[in-house]
Symmetry: D2
Subunit: 412 residues, 4 copies
């Protein structure tokens, strides 16, 4: 596809080629999963088998050793051309693997043998895709950075109670990384992440995912009622407060490549519109719609919007990859600048997906309003992006503006 994004590393290139091999099958199945509101389990298995899911694991753990989050984004965009739900499911797992690899590397570098060994074992499982980890961060009525789900220390265990939403992959996850709060000695709250295994008593995957779009992603609610977890499965973080450098970079590693879903959805719509316009006349017996100046104008506008989205994603990707390539502590301002670029890309990519699908429907006409038409699914899938972490337009614009003005982006 002209102008499409391409991987920047050889390993990333391998991943993108793998992803491209799945597109046709994903596209074929997308309508059924959407209509039946079923998790894309078949796709997930295919991606596991082909090696996409484990791509970020090191070669020795059975992965491709992909380090570039931008390259992951490119692969996610390819998957999204076939099925947006599958793309975000794959991203969640790939990003999870990517994060564990970074932890393992840090442990190795620090000479922390026991952690390294534990993570080595974990990566064996992830590299073989024998283990699916889902992140459980979002809660109804809470900000992305202030969970209400609480873990209470009891001896050498934690008891966890709360409710999560949008838990992508929850249908097949073996383990959940649950963002919780833990009471501090001083009466405040502290962030923590609890690893809760599937099957833990009190843990219920609600099976209630029924959304406008991304219906195949199995993003069910998760109910935690007095779930008991060994203390060493709970990693304490910082006290509650405005997002820290760590919060932002952690979110970036998961949510930056996720933007590929918005791009891929827009690209799929563009391909459908071009195919339609070059094949179907607007009236019987006339030239193909492509010859109509209004169709050319809509297509050109889509091209401009796609080009802009790709351009900002590529340049943001370079900054994101540079941030993670450098093991040093990053000054707050430097991280805010990367987040500024990332959120700029997010606003544009999310908006472009909605806009490009809308124009594609205009070109394809009333037929695309049918539930059976792929554009009617893309129209719904495209709207998901704006709700994804960390910022939608309400918080994204102020963040970008404040950083550009040299202000603390967390202040209000």
């Amino acid at each position: 596809m002209f102008g499409e994004l391409t991987a920047t590393t050889p390993a990333g290139g391998d991943l993108v080629r793998l992803a491209e091999g799945h597109v046709a099958t994903l596209a074929e199945r997308a309508g059924r999963h959407d209509r039946q509101n079923t998790f894309v389990a078949d796709n997930f298995t295919d991606l596991r088998d082909s090696g996409v899911l484990a791509a970020c694991a090191p070669l020795r753990h059975g992965g491709l050793g992909v380090r570039s989050l931008y390259d992951v984004l490119v692969a996610v965009s390819r998957l999204a051309r076939g099925c947006g739900s599958t793309a975000i499911c794959a991203n969640m797992h790939m990003a999870s693997v990517w994060g564990q690899v970074r932890r393992w590397e840090r442990a190795e570098a620090a000479g922390d043998r026991s952690t390294a060994a534990r993570l080595d074992t974990l990566l064996e499982a992830l590299g073989g895709s024998d283990l699916i980890m889902a992140g459980a961060a979002t809660e109804p009525g809470a900000s992305w950075n202030g969970p209400l789900t609480e873990a209470v220390r009891k001896d050498d265990e934690y008891v966890i109670t709360g409710r999560k939403t949008f838990v992508t992959n929850s249908a097949v996850a073996d383990s959940f990384n649950v963002a919780v709060r833990v009471a501090d000695a001083d009466g405040g709250w502290r962030h923590a992440e609890a690893v809760v295994l599937a099957g833990t008593p009190g843990l219920t995957v609600l099976g209630d995912w029924d959304a406008l779009g991304m219906r195949g992603s199995g993003s069910h609610g998760l109910l935690l009622e007095d779930c008991v977890v060994p203390a060493d499965r709970v990693t304490l973080g910082e006290p509650f407060g405005p997002p820290t450098v760590d919060d932002l970079t952690r979110s970036c590693a998961v949510n930056f490549p996720l933007l590929g879903a918005s791009l891929g959805i827009a690209e799929a719509a563009h391909l459908i519109a071009v195919e339609h316009a070059t094949r179907v006349p607007r009236q019987p017996g006339r030239a193909a719609a492509a010859h109509h100046p209004s169709v050319q104008r809509e297509i050109a506008t889509m091209e401009v919007d796609l080009a802009a989205a790709r351009g900002v994603l590529e340049r943001a990707g370079r900054l994101v990859d540079a941030l993670f390539a450098d093991p040093a502590e990053h000054p707050v301002d430097a991280v805010h600048d990367v987040v500024r670029a990332w959120q700029t890309a997010k606003l544009l990519a999310n908006r472009t997906a909605v806009g490009v699908v809308d124009r594609a429907m205009t070109i394809c006409g009333g037929a695309s309003f049918s539930s059976r038409h792929p554009l009617s699914r893309l129209y719904r899938d495209a709207r998901a992006g704006g709700f994804m972490q960390p910022f939608g337009p309400l918080d994204g614009y102020p963040f970008i503006g404040r950083v550009a003005l040299g202000l603390d982006p967390s202040a209000d």
Copy 2:
């Protein structure tokens, strides 16, 4: 609701008040019809009982005597605040009644007693809402002004074969006004309208309506296989060609008030967003979202867009009503100017519906992405407007531009 459109005639005012009385019930039922993809039969019955459906019939035929199409538009916008599907169903019937009244008046004025008598009887039935007439105009792959469905003359009957789509109200219609073509002596085609009664052998309501939005409108396909119709039920029109003044005014009488659906959907979304923002904080324990500057900005932008849509609808309505109030033949240019104003309003109203719903979702956050949230229905219903007759953006812009430049809008 601040800035809402209001009726310009006393009869129209009565209709709008009637329509407003239905909104709460319609809103209550909208989600179910949408989920179950069922025709809004209960609403249709309610509107029949309250007198909304027959509002355009003269008082002596049991109606309210509403003549202003703009006032019908205002009433349709109120209904759409509760349920977009019901709004378009009601519009189709009201516009149909409105058209028969104009025919009856013309027959009366011309002293054509027999036609007047026949229409008088028809209006009795319509005024009592004992008769539901559906229009069957659109066909897959054909332009709005060149039907492929054909009526072949055989003695004093016509045999009709073809396929129609988007036949709103087809689930309950007693009679269909089917746009057909009839072979001309010279080998060309001529427009015609055939009245085909429900139950005619060969006529099948396909029951296949399953669309992205407006799911309660029962806009099924209609199959006509050798349907035999008495010749006096077929009214011959002009030879095929670019849209004539008659084509345009006939379409205007049905499709101008339909724009109320786009406005009402936008208004419903705006009301939901304001209600949410003034009630729910963006984070637990904080002030209501309304205090967030970004929320105020989105709301203000919605206000600007709504104000623009209302302004152009009102001004176009004045021209439309003036056109129909004047019984004289209208010069082509005068009609093109009215259509220019109407299509300007259509582009803006259709676009505003999509844009305002999108912003409302931004304000309401991830919860609005749930299938159970009314905004997720409005997001889908809003997209229907752009596909409605006669022009979407592909043809609407050239039409407006050409008329403004003094060119023949039909040329290409």
Copy 3:
């Protein structure tokens, strides 16, 4: 011009016709005033002679008795088709007369004979256009509602010191209504308006107007150095604070009709573009540019934008006129709603002027980039609107959003 706004009262209709009679001459002179940066004194004289300037004075004072501010706006828009600078100059004087008439009526109604008599005399002068009053409100670095220019009471006089900018008509004004602050007993500030006659010692019209656009408006700075004014020429107002109902309505009476300038500029550009496109081919020997689909698209987009601006102006005008027609005290909320509608119209009208001129230049091509081309003046004049009182986008959006959300628009 198709779709143009029209007056709503007979007196307003007379005014609009008068204004239309000036357009050709104004257009002829506009380039010269712009290039030479000279006040439009000749136009001002013409408008005085024809009766435009005094139109809001009662018949008995020699005016037309125009009461509708909307009708004034329509007239201002006609003048702006010829010359934006002249349009705003005329507006400032017409609005000033309008305001004095309301004061006189209130005095009459209240039986305040002496005030009525004084205003009667003033209106004699204004009605004969023997007196030009300019408003001096804006100051560099101060908000529209918190002047730094100060009037200090000394016995039965006030001594005024400060500096004003954007004093339209200052070149020919006989008298200035200067917004000042007066120290309160409690240490705070109070609003006041001082009438300072031209020729008062210490008063200097700086003659420094040299701006991007509206160059003919003579909007010089005004320097007040110890200007002594009799106490009865200073009207005390309310203590400083957020804008009150009085502040807003007073500003509305001056600045609502001023929006006609933005509309008229857009209309002038549209007319130029249509004339060019229908006359000039894009390449030698080809059909006129009007036949190019891209030109039709730009023209259509201009039509949509103009229609939206006109629609919101008309509907806002109805609210504004209703507000002033009702002599009762208006509740704060009702006034805020009118201001909401007015500011919505302002945002849209200001933006439309800039956008329509831009598209007109695209149609007319490189020739319009020449200083001699009228569009290169309109491009600059159009940008003035966003800076006009009371709100630009930075404050307009929050005002509209807060009122729509039921919040106090003055809070921050």
Copy 4:
């Protein structure tokens, strides 16, 4: 400046650093040249002295050996931060040198000794900046690809007559590359380029440049009345027709880097707005404007727009540089794809310049409407981009749309 474009080659990096060294001086002088409508001769001399103008000449000819047109664009964008006029003047000369170097390399590669020797001498002069070459392409009323200026063969000379506009640098040019037409034997026309030396009898630089913006660029008209030129100074090209691959690539080499002017103007406006907002309060005694949410929103929107423009420019630059790096004949489709990317970037960069300056004025308020304020110059300079070669929006959208749809972009 965060997110700014950077050179991709070492030589390009040197050029960009040189360009950055000029910004402050250029900015200082920009207002004066704009007001006085004088050619930026002083800046031109400075750029000659520093080596910017000759940067594309090989090292052996005294240049920096810059080959990347993208790097030239980056340098042009830096110059435009100081002065848009100077930036386009510099671009015209740099691109001219760049083009001669490519010709010289082709002659060397082809073993065409005499041409190589001639160009070697020319490059000596250009490398020392002893020779200024201006392009004279545009004509009033003619398309960019069909000049009316005609060269008539008479023995071993050509006699040239015609009129050119927008001849940037004409005030100081030693030589003009004039696009002409030559009659073909078959009665049609053929493209040709004539090198006309300053001082040739019949050649008049009209000194008539007086435009809305870019006033310092000395883009006068050029009158050619029976100018006699030796035949070897006229290079014949292809017969008239739709733009060929050669036409497009030749235009690209000059006009792609020119887009840096639009970017630099936008960046200058952004810097001014940020500086203002962080320094000046919106009301006396309040926090700096940067703390106002509306200001943050405008700044963020500018950031998004700038990021998009930069992203598409960078990606288009990669394609442009790759096209020229490969000496092979390029298939038509490949060239059309590069032009598609370039024109996408052009539309976005031109539009971004206008939009970002507009927002900067909103932030800086009424003061920026003064002729003395740099934004009031940037507002005018920014509008030039849309008129530049080869396509504005009227032709750019159709070109992009047709190529994307697989159609011949030249057809209509």
